[in-house]
Symmetry: C2
Subunit: 697 residues, 2 copies
């Protein structure tokens, strides 16, 4: 078994054999952190955008057989790809460089769209970089490791994709039989269509949330008398709140065309990877509303997904052997759904569901199931989804349906476990459940067991808040706006100067894309001779050139003016100026104090009236005086209040300069504490002078 130079516990979900993709930002960056693509390994998250910037994917090429554009494959009368052979004759072998910009994006959609050859090329390269005895370029580069290999506990995980459409299936025979038996009796348990097609319904994409997001117990219409639907309904909180244990996959590859169904042979190319999913269900609301058009408000209040996406390549060793899983022969599926690899079309994934209250130290397991229990596999679901011509887009999410096994301990919902409330399910704290209570956290886990390693899925957790506590859920809900701001091109001149450092930090904190130029563009300097190179924009550094969306260009100088502009122009981004007038004044005061000090030092240096030694001694005295004043007014967490402000972005570069003139900072413990906190944050790290302009390249 290949092992990694990063320590991975034997029971870790994230072995070298796994390498699942996710979207993360740093906790220290707060709500507006820069979301980018990461890979989980052991207790770390590897920042792929940092690896791309450092050039570690530069030599990765993608190799694939590509169909010529005009060879639209015809679907035969029976729904299979009749002219497959003819099409392949039109294809040719191509290679192309990997597009690494996908790793800087706040969703996996672009990477998902890039297609299987890209996914495989990246997986191969990551294995090289992380395996013992592989390419040592990451292992041996300490600064890059510090930047790119982040302790998982410092990261915040986001939804992996912008989900265009979410669909949920109903593909476990045991689950469908259990539910059917309860509501229609054993003889009519399965509906007539169930063995002929994977029954599914369109779900709500907007309410799919990432693990860790609280779930408010829904209110809605309940039957006034559950045994008599003629009695109408009342408004109230759901009384039969339930989980559903599911797995779900993301669609990958280029978007398919409307009116062009996928064939079973093509399906796997369009499956990017799997996550765990909790399809929360309000059983009493569902019972009243779902006739005749299916579940609606009973499902759309929340659907929780685990943040890591495990690829098919990672799952490959855990394909079912032909003896495992259900048979699919009575009736045999129609041709378009016939999967000749059916017996190996699912995966051996151990699944469990636990319930944990605030008083419990760990979750009490209520169900143990396995993904191989599915009757219809993912390929069949995808093909049936597109059979009438529905187009599929990268990032679409398709849920398996509740995964129940044959044994009553393997049922995937409280509805089945408690048999519609007839049985009490015991928890480890001595209490019991028929359905879920407020304060319960439902935890789903899943993993494939290899020889000495695991390929696991991480956490899929959600805690139930009481009905009506919608204000509590807000802070937990990540929200990314996709609207373009009015200013769309920012160019920062003077990126190597410490004066522009403050602005860089703010741009990174605010997650505003910008390009950073040295004092003067190299090409211009070269063309126009040293004189013009000397022009140097000295008083103009930092200079921000701003193009608005109408093509107008605006040039701003002075760091404070620039930062105030950013604050006003990019509303909704991380705020560096408090809205409270007093706090804002404190921030400006500290910033101006620091600014005055820095200007004094600069004038002193450039006057040339003193020797270098005297100059440095003067600088020490002035800086220590300034620090002493600051030490008396800064807060205990950051310069002002409990979050980063403009003042902190002034302080950090100043302390850097202070060390260069050998000032003694030991007695400024509050300043040093602030500095230490900031040093861990991605925005501050990305803005450092030594990582500018391809320092790693």
């Amino acid at each position: 078994m290949e092992s990694s130079w990063i320590h991975v516990q034997e029971d870790s979900d994230f072995s070298l054999q796994n390498l699942p993709y996710g979207i993360f930002s740093l906790k220290s960056e707060g709500q507006q952190g820069r979301a980018r693509v990461g890979v989980a390994i052991g207790d770390y998250v590897l920042d792929l955008s940092a690896l791309a910037t450092a050039g570690l994917f530069r030599d990765v090429t993608v190799r694939a057989t590509v169909l010529k554009t005009n060879s639209v494959e015809k679907i035969g009368e029976n729904g299979t790809s009749a002219d497959k052979a003819a099409v392949l004759a039109d294809s040719s072998e191509c290679t192309w460089p990997l597009d690494t910009s996908v790793f800087s994006q706040p969703t996996l959609n672009a990477f998902m769209a890039s297609g299987k050859p890209s996914w495989q090329a990246i997986r191969k390269r990551l294995t090289q970089l992380l395996a013992n005895g592989g390419d040592p370029i990451l292992k041996d580069n300490a600064p890059l490791k510090r930047l790119a290999l982040i302790s998982a506990c410092e990261t915040k995980l986001h939804l992996p994709a912008d989900i265009g459409d979410y669909t949920d299936f109903y593909s476990s025979r045991e689950h469908a039989t259990n539910v059917g038996t309860m509501f229609r009796g054993k003889d009519n348990a399965l509906q007539p269509n169930w063995l002929h097609l994977p029954v599914g319904y369109h779900g709500r994409a907007s309410s799919v949330v990432v693990s860790g997001t609280n779930v408010v117990r829904p209110r809605g219409q309940l039957q006034a008398d559950p045994s008599d639907d003629k009695k109408g309904s009342v408004y109230g909180a759901c009384r039969l709140l339930d989980f559903e244990l599911e797995m779900a996959f993301y669609v990958g590859g280029p978007p398919t065309a409307l009116g062009r169904p996928l064939t079973i042979e093509e399906a796997e190319e369009h499956i990017f990877g799997f996550s765990l999913m909790n399809d929360w269900s309000a059983r009493d609301i569902q019972k009243w509303e779902y006739v005749p058009l299916g579940p609606f408000g009973a499902k759309n209040f929340s659907t929780t997904i685990s943040p890591w996406v495990v690829t098919l390549d990672a799952l490959e060793p855990f394909r079912c052997t032909s003896s495992a899983g259900p048979a699919q022969d009575s009736p045999a599926p129609l041709s378009y759904l016939h999967d000749k690899d059916y017996s190996t079309g699912s995966y051996n994934v151990n699944l469990e569901v636990g319930i944990q209250t605030d008083d419990m130290m760990s979750a009490s397991v209520v169900s143990r199931s396995n993904f191989r229990n599915m009757y219809w596999n993912a390929k069949q679901q995808l093909v049936h989804h597109s059979v009438t011509g529905c187009n599929m887009r990268p990032g679409d999410l398709l849920g398996s349906g509740t995964i129940s096994g044959q044994d009553s301990t393997s049922y995937g919902s409280m509805l089945e476990l408690s048999w519609r409330g007839a049985k009490e399910i015991p928890l480890s704290d001595g209490t019991t459940r028929k359905f879920l209570k407020d304060g319960d956290t439902v935890k789903m886990r899943g993993y494939c067991q290899g020889d000495g390693f695991r390929v696991g899925f991480g956490e899929c957790d959600g805690r139930i808040l009481p009905a009506g506590s919608e204000d509590l859920v807000l802070s937990a809900q990540p929200f990314t706006t996709t609207f373009k701001p009015a200013y769309h091109t920012l160019k920062l001149h003077g990126c190597r100067t410490s004066n522009s450092w403050r602005v860089r930090i703010c741009l990174h904190l605010k997650n505003i894309p910008f390009s950073c130029l040295p004092d003067i563009a190299p090409r211009h300097a070269e063309q126009s001779g040293e004189e013009c190179g000397e022009m140097n924009l000295l008083q103009l550094v930092p200079t921000l050139e701003v193009s608005d969306t109408t093509g107008g260009v605006h040039v701003l100088t002075q760091s404070m003016a620039i930062i105030e502009f950013l604050e006003a122009a990019f509303q909704g981004s991380y705020p560096v100026l408090p809205s409270d007038p007093l706090a804002r004044a404190q921030v400006c005061q500290i910033s101006e104090m620091i600014n005055s000090n820095q200007i004094t030092l600069e004038i002193m240096k450039s006057s040339g009236n003193e020797s270098e030694l005297t100059c440095r001694q003067h600088a020490q005295v002035l800086t220590e005086k300034c620090c002493a004043a600051l030490e008396t007014i800064v807060g205990d967490t950051y310069c002002v209040g409990d979050s980063i402000t403009m003042a902190d972005t002034y302080l950090i570069p100043m302390l850097y300069d202070a060390r260069r003139c050998e000032a003694n900072l030991d007695r400024f413990q509050k300043l040093l504490n602030i500095e230490a906190k900031c040093a861990n944050m991605a925005a501050f790290q990305a803005a450092r002078a030594d990582v500018q302009l391809g320092a790693f390249a």
Copy 2:
């Protein structure tokens, strides 16, 4: 009645009182045209992005009462906003400038998100600009009118929004009763929940298409024996293809939070406007698949929407009076659904459906209905959609459900019109229909009748292609990729020179955002004196500065090099270099011929060896010689082939220069034809020297 200086027929859908919003590009721009926001007026489309660029919205301010951020409104136990009064006490009156960047975007989502105060401010301004006796700034500006007021027949209309989620309701009592009677008999026609809540289901967003997109007859699973569901299913083409006459509204305003239901009082603030919708349905596929989770493949093959969105403000005069529309009192809705304005909560919109075959001159009307027939109104649908906590996002689409009236000629589907196939519906060509046939175009229309004007919805059309003709639908399907390219900042220097003109045209053709700078940034020139101003980048114009997503900056010069770069870097954008090697060589040859001529003229001019007169005479001779050579090799449509290529982007600026040196172009009819065609295209217009850098400002 206020009238417009633009001629509007009395029966036009698009009166001054309407002003519906849509997304359009120019047909001449082809598949990759620049999609932006327009408003329909008479036979024209008004380009709002052009008005914004020209500064016509500069003084528009938005005025609104804004709640303070932290005043989260509590929802009372009965689902109404209990603490409304307390919240309003926390609010304050604000004004802010309008963000006009929303009009350059390829969807209405950002404008929809901007909220009702913005919608109303823009509507007021547009009325001023278009009304007789209003602000004459547009009326009197001929070049701006040419640019911004586009004949509707030259435009191509796109989907108005990036639809996050699409939901369809089932809210016409007559429709639900008809369908229920057919399948369950008259006594059980309405399900027990129907009068208590607006029944709805989640639909498929990816397959919502704009009017004019062909619809392929779907294939899928049909019952082997429709009278016996135990006989299983067969694969085949849908035999009972149907339309459903619906209206649909787009959600507007800021996204709502998950877990925070909307109240009936808030609902209208979150309704942007209405379109017509054809919810195509495969009745036989639906009958087999829909138990128990609702319609799936029977609906997700296509849903057609009309391209114009009519706002609530335009519909306001057509609110139902209290006597029109159904009563809603038996039972009365629960408090959270109780709309005190129920009787005026819908609109008097005349609706009709026609079927037209290729042999017919016009559509044969098969149904006449009215939107006021709805039992549940849009506000109630929106509130019920969010009652369990589902979050709503701007751009979400909510369909009304089939709109049937009481009269059998007002039924909104063939299922009802033909009463499940029992009746033949006659068409004007002497044929009859029970369901739809291949080649049928279904046309839906709708309008409100005012006194001497209409507020109408435009076209909602779709033509049925035979099953299996998926290759024919491809070209009709607009597709916009939302992935960021690897290069995200482009800055073009030298925007006032004719040399950069070629590059500007290509950038506009390719719809690549860029900022355009004069030869040298004015600020720099001012700061560094004339000398540095003279530096002037003479050999460097055009210069393209490209920032990649990793922050690296690349400087490119020479127009051909730049255009080749754009071609390679922005794959999927409008191609200006043919993929066929020979055609590509022709394009390059013409471009190089033009280039050589222009360089010769430049060197001649700058050498100063000749008088201005001699110089001009020489230029005439050289240019006419070049044109004569070109005239022999260019094609009949464009320089090369049937679409715009790089060669055309060289030709147009050259002909401009030729006129400046008074060359006689009369005998170069092919060149002049190409020039005339290009002159009408938005990309060429936007690149012209006189519209650069706020020429209208």
